[in-house]
């Protein structure tokens, strides 16, 4: 059973649908017991990183999440709150699994913010990305990004800003892009996560 953590940070339906298309059973929950017992845990998230941490704390989840030993996948803001901290929420420590700071893209001519749309993956090195062709396009929507760090397992380049498209530390994985919206490449990535 896959636990998809529900902490009121955006719509979970597309993720549930994507998992359903792969034949996976998931339960949308904020119950620590269910999360602790799940085979896999997904932390999705769209919105503000500060709000995301606040909601997780209100549900008593940050320490539960840190303690997990099964494969965990953070998506978008779900990945960002697994980093050390975010410029979106100054002074608010995040969960600190990935050794990365989250920064804001500065808008520039040719670099609109949010970074929205399909961009390609480079420097892919993780079981999470197995059988995903090099330079595959995946779907991003974000204004903040994790810089590259020792945990980076795929990068993406947005108008000369190189950032972490995917992160991994032990059993924790994170994608800045949305695998549930990334066509066949995204399906392969979710399949890989289910097979870890």
């Amino acid at each position: 059973m896959i636990a998809v953590i529900d902490y009121d940070m955006g719509n979970l339906r597309s993720l549930e649908n994507a998992l359903g298309r792969l034949g996976a059973q998931c339960i949308v929950t904020a119950d620590p017991d269910i999360i602790l017992k799940a085979d896999r845990v997904i932390l999705p998230g769209v919105g503000h990183a500060g709000k995301a941490m606040e909601n997780l704390k209100a549900l008593g989840l940050p320490n539960i999440i840190r303690s997990l030993r099964q494969p965990v996948l953070g998506i978008c803001v779900g990945m960002q709150v697994l980093c050390r901290d975010s410029e979106e929420a100054p002074g608010v420590p995040c969960m600190g699994i990935f050794d990365a700071h989250v920064r804001r893209f500065t808008a520039a001519p040719g670099r609109k913010v949010p970074h929205m749309g399909w961009n390609n993956l480079s420097n892919m090195e993780s079981k999470l990305l197995k059988d995903v062709p090099r330079n595959s396009y995946v779907y991003f929507v974000h204004s903040f990004y994790a810089g590259t760090c020792p945990d980076t397992v795929a990068t993406c380049n947005y108008d000369s800003v190189m950032f972490s498209a995917a992160l991994r530390y032990e059993n924790f994985y994170g994608t800045q892009f949305h695998p549930e919206k990334s066509g066949l490449a995204g399906e392969q990535i979710l399949k890989n996560f289910l097979a870890l």
């Binding site: 769209v46 949010p114 399909w118 396009y137 949305h178």
Partner: protein
Amino acid sequence: MLAKRIIPCLDVKDGRVVKGINFTSLAEVGDAVEMGHKYAMEGADELVYLDISATIEGRNTFAELVRRVADTVNIPFTVGGGIRSLDDAARLLDAGADKITINSAAIARPELIGEIAGRYGRQFVVVAIDAKSGPDGKWHATTHGGSRPTDKELFAWAREAEDRGAGEILFTSMDHDGTRNGYPCPVYAALSDSLGIPLIASGGAGSVDDIAAVLTDGKADAALAASIFHYGKYTVAEVKGQLAASGIPVRI
């Protein structure tokens, strides 16, 4: 490199896809979910579904359709038509839409943009502007399918929408929509330069060259098109293949 997006647009009436020529005559073209799935498989980057039903039954059919689309397609999709309130937007989000687009309702009450963006994030809100050029050369937003001019000047209104929380602007030239004569590229380029958020071009594509022009000379981040896909003139894959061959970054 961030790819330019190709977005088929499906106008839906009572659950079926239709497409008007200059928004007046309607010709039915097919099942909305099947067509969306086919476009996604051919390589569409996103889909837009616009509800043009005039009745409550039609609206309910649309929400059910959004649910079926969300079950079926593995790329982002935007829905619009008849969204007047935060509740309307919430219903479509719950049904599985990734983004909503608002047009007349934002002109009538611009605060709506901030209300929806404040609750669901900027990325969820696409502000659509149907504009027409006037005798003085200025472009103004219109409502009711281009039939009613407003006092909103295109550039000022697009900036205001961005400031209020829009995540993207979808600009349709009502002088070009449905004509298949191409896009007004200089207007797109100036508008794109004036915005810090992505600009989607819509209305007027008759050929791949037209789309290529609006993505390069017109500096648009994405192109939305309907008739060139629906009538089988080109497949999405053919359009993207030709764009790639002319050096435009697209997801193949």
